[in-house]
């Protein structure tokens, strides 16, 4: 149990997917404009990455590894993720319109979010088993959600400030992200 909690803390805070690994930067910079959208996207990302890492882990352990098709993992994972997002979207639309309305429009965006593929590949690299993969996926997505919500909060304050002209737009957002990244480096000091 302790090992699993360590995986979550490690992936969510210490090796934060956005601020330390630079995965999912597009949506991190784009969607953090609005707080409400950031919360919804965060929810959708947690949902998809957790399921995708579970499916990818099962596929790798029971299909790719026994057939020694290890080198096919990039192709298989990207297709599975794309199909999975479609299925999740259709399922939610039918079974749970409330969740679909909150998350639905962000689901297709997630297919191209490199964090999903990144987690699946990192899990294989670290030779995590099924349970560890699911926890690592959940932790990574949680880290993404924390980062995007924090940035959305910071940006709503920046909007009220007089920013020097050349820094308006992307530069000031990137500088805020740099400061957050410095703050998150402090988590590297966490020891258990």
């Amino acid at each position: 149990m302790k090992a699993l909690i360590l995986i979550i803390v490690g992936t969510a805070l210490i090796n934060n997917v956005v601020l330390n690994q630079f995965l999912g930067i597009c949506s991190f910079l784009g969607v953090s404009k609005q707080m409400k959208a950031s919360v919804s996207l965060g929810g959708a990302v947690i949902f998809v990455i957790t399921i995708a890492s579970a499916v990818a882990s099962l596929l790798y352990t029971y299909v790719l590894a026994p057939l020694s098709l290890d080198y096919m993992k990039t192709i298989v994972f990207i297709l599975v993720i794309a199909a999975l997002v479609q299925i999740v979207e259709m399922f939610l639309k039918k079974k749970s319109p409330a969740i679909y309305n909150a998350l639905g429009i962000y689901l297709p965006l997630i297919t191209t979010n490199c964090a999903v593929l990144g987690v699946a590949l990192t899990n294989v690299q670290n030779s995590y088993n099924f349970v560890q993969s699911v926890f690592a996926g959940f932790g990574t997505a949680l880290g993404y959600t924390i980062a995007i919500i924090l940035l959305a909060g910071i940006r709503s304050r920046i909007d009220e400030q007089a920013v020097p002209a050349p820094l308006r737009g992307a530069p000031i957002v990137l500088i805020s992200a740099a400061l957050m990244s410095i703050a998150f480096m402090g988590f590297a000091g966490l020891t258990f």
């Binding site: 330390n20 630079f22 404009k33 990039t74 965006l109 191209t112 990192t122």
Partner: protein, 227 residues
């Protein structure tokens, strides 16, 4: 100017994928810790981009419109896997250094973006030059970011000591925060000298940063926003 060279100029300067279009930010931020990594990542992406543009341009009449995106993804993923295996065999040091970011070339927005915006409408020769131009533009931007970060963070360029040892390098620049700072600086300089980038769109919609796959999602999002 000959139309083939026009593609090169377009990729390198006019529509530089990283600095002007702001595509492919993830690898730009992640691997620019050293100039040499920028070159490695840039050239491997260039190879994939040229080949994917050529293959997609060759198949542009054969691929049905409805399934074009999955088809592109399969083509790009196969090319990336081949590149990854070749790099593992012939340049193991670069392979180790770039790690997970090599397979992640699959989801690099530049590649699917060029397939959708250029290669599926133009001849093989032009698509090849477009891939070369865009790839070199990406390589130049990555190498430049890598050089700045390496110089400030380690006092070196391409591994050679440049700053005298008495000047202590600013270590934060080769750490993750340095990536955000250097790219912010690049864009701020471009803003200050009046080069227009597409950053406003990227930062405000979150759509342009990703490739064509999410264009439908962006349409939907705008509809919802209007309601």
């Amino acid at each position: 100017m000959n139309k083939y060279f026009e593609r090169l100029y377009n990729g390198l300067i006019k529509e530089n994928p990283t600095l002007v279009l702001m595509l492919g930010m993830c690898p730009t931020l992640a691997v620019s810790t050293q100039a040499i990594n920028g070159v490695g990542m840039g050239l491997s992406t260039t190879a994939v981009l040229i080949l994917s543009n050529v293959v997609i341009s060759l198949l542009r009449k054969a691929i049905p419109d409805q399934v074009r995106l999955p088809a592109y993804i399969v083509i790009v993923a196969s090319l990336v896997t081949a590149t990854e295996l070749l790099m593992h065999a012939y340049v193991p040091s670069v392979y180790e250094e770039l790690g997970i970011y090599i397979p992640l070339i699959v989801v690099n927005c530049i590649i699917l973006g060029r397939a959708e915006a250029y290669a599926n409408k133009h001849s093989v020769g032009l698509s090849l030059m477009d891939g070369l131009g865009m790839g070199l533009g990406f390589t130049v931007a990555l190498t430049l970011a890598g050089m700045v970060r390496e110089l400030l963070g380690a006092g070196k360029i391409f591994g050679a000591q440049v700053l005298p040892a008495s000047i202590k390098p600013i270590g934060i620049f080769i750490q993750p925060p340095g990536a955000f700072l250097v790219i912010a600086l690049f864009i701020a300089i471009m803003n200050a000298i009046g080069i227009k980038t597409r950053q406003r769109k990227l930062v405000e919609s979150g759509c342009d940063g990703c490739c064509a796959t999410c264009s439908s999602a962006c349409g939907k999002k705008e509809e919802v926003a209007e309601k």
